[in-house]
């Protein structure tokens, strides 16, 4: 029997407002595993279910309120956007020649598994980014056989574009974050860094390319910090931070 590691959860995802589930894109709402920010660097066992229940409800209410607020003023889909999207979706089916999407998919999987996997190293992530860059043209030119009814090869051709974007986002952020924390382990930066705890990495799409920015995280409120046992905090705070925390508590 073959035993190997597999993906269990994605920490990080669509940036949303915690109260309404609203994303930065107007009218887009996200809840659950696809939404980011809830679980920090490491989701604890069982916490996904409670996330789904709480934030599923909030997002549903948020989306309903958003639609109510619009009243009769619903934004219309531009005809040319529809035409563009349809053309882009049909393109792999209409191409005379092009690569098999499964071949490109396997290469993407191997790249991410081998170079941006569980234990990461700066030089390897850089190598991955170079390969992803070369995959971009190939992803854009895959060809699908068959029609539009239940056609997995065509679905893969469409998914590949998003898989590539998500892969690039993960690799770029993993390269930037020079520390080890939660699910992110850097062989070349094995320690947790108090500086990085204050930073979130936000990626967005700008002119078809992934843009990466750092954003300051609000510090954890002292009253919330107090709810955690010391043992638990050692997993997320460095020795210096813990010492500072202890002094602050004594002063209270």
């Amino acid at each position: 029997m073959e035993v190997g590691p597999t993906c269990h959860y994605v920490m990080g995802g669509v940036e949303v407002d915690a109260d309404t589930g609203a994303a930065v894109v107007p009218g887009l709402f996200a809840a659950g595993e696809v939404a980011g920010g809830m679980h920090g660097s490491n989701r604890l066992g069982g916490n996904s279910l409670s996330d789904l229940l709480v934030f599923g409800r909030r997002s549903g209410l948020g989306a309903a309120a958003y639609v109510d607020e619009l009243g009769t003023d619903h934004p219309a889909v531009a005809e040319e956007d529809l035409a563009d999207t349809t053309a882009a979706a049909r393109a792999p089916l209409e191409r005379e020649a092009g690569e098999n999407p499964y071949t490109v998919h396997h290469e993407l999987q191997d790249t991410m598994n081998d170079l941006v996997g569980i234990i990461r190293r700066g030089s390897e992530i850089e190598e991955a980014l170079e390969i992803l860059d070369k995959l971009r043209d190939r992803v854009a030119n895959v060809r699908s056989e068959g029609g539009t009814i239940y056609n997995p090869g065509w679905h893969l051709a469409l998914d590949l574009r998003n898989m590539l974007l998500v892969s690039e986002s993960i690799a770029r952020a993993a390269l930037e974050r020079e520390e080890s924390r939660g699910g992110h382990t850097r062989d070349d930066f094995p320690d947790m860094s108090p500086e990085w705890r204050k930073v979130n990495l936000v990626v967005s799409l700008r002119d078809g390319r992934v843009r990466l920015r750092q954003r300051a995280v609000d510090p954890l409120r002292p009253d919330l910090l107090e709810l955690f046992e010391h043992e638990e905090l050692t997993k997320y705070l460095t020795k210096d931070e813990l010492a500072a925390d202890a002094t602050a508590k004594e002063e209270l």
Binding site: M1, P101, Y102, S144, I149, Y150, N151, P152, G153, L156
Partner: protein, 266 residues
Amino acid sequence: MATERTFRVWRGDDDGELAEYRVEVNEGEVVLDVLHRLQATQVPDLAVRWNCKAGKCGSCSVEINGRPRLSCMARMSTFDPDETIIVTPMRTFPVIRDLVCDVSYNYQKAREIPSFTPDPKTEPGDFRMYQADVGRPQEFRKCIECFLCQNVCHVIRDHEENKENFSGPRFLMRVAELEMHPEDTADRRNIAQEDFGLGYCNITKCCTEVCPENIRITDNSLIPLKERVADRRYDPVVWLGSKIGLRKGADTPMVPNTRPGREAEE
């Protein structure tokens, strides 16, 4: 160690046909792995439904050499090395394409069953149940809704005309589960017979035979449900009770507006 094997796979819709392929098979693989390799290397548009590859989502149901099975749980090592493997979609449901069926029939039947109906006066935490009463339905809750039992049952497998009036083993089992629940107040015995077609079942146990969760559908749900229905319909005391009006209105009807055409009839 890789070997090359012969697969015959259904291509097209209800009027499709078997196509033959030679495909690589590696140690430890299951039929679904091989179908995926076929997709990746020879037939990229081969329609296959799957999700978990762990026998728990119930989406990869097909017929392998005529036997209804989960393709993700069908080990290649259980076939002879030179055996041709024939994979076809479930026969009882319309084919969307290749190995993928439209299983809406099952969702339709699920909607018709009145849901759990506790006494409205009870609050959460009020139920006091014997462990045996808790344990009995646990077996039925293992169901992964693969619909292999529905597919194999002869009542509908070759009898499209029975589909309207027969809910199939999976959903008769659901009725049985609710009937056995000590806190359920609805009486589903009449609709089990009249609307869900329990009488069509002649306890061949084919459903039990193919269930990947090894649920003893026939012995533990269908037969006990038949016994309860017999009590309700043929017990002389109950019969007398219903004649003199003691049981009036006690039979729970099936969920209204769920069966197309039914309302117009009544």
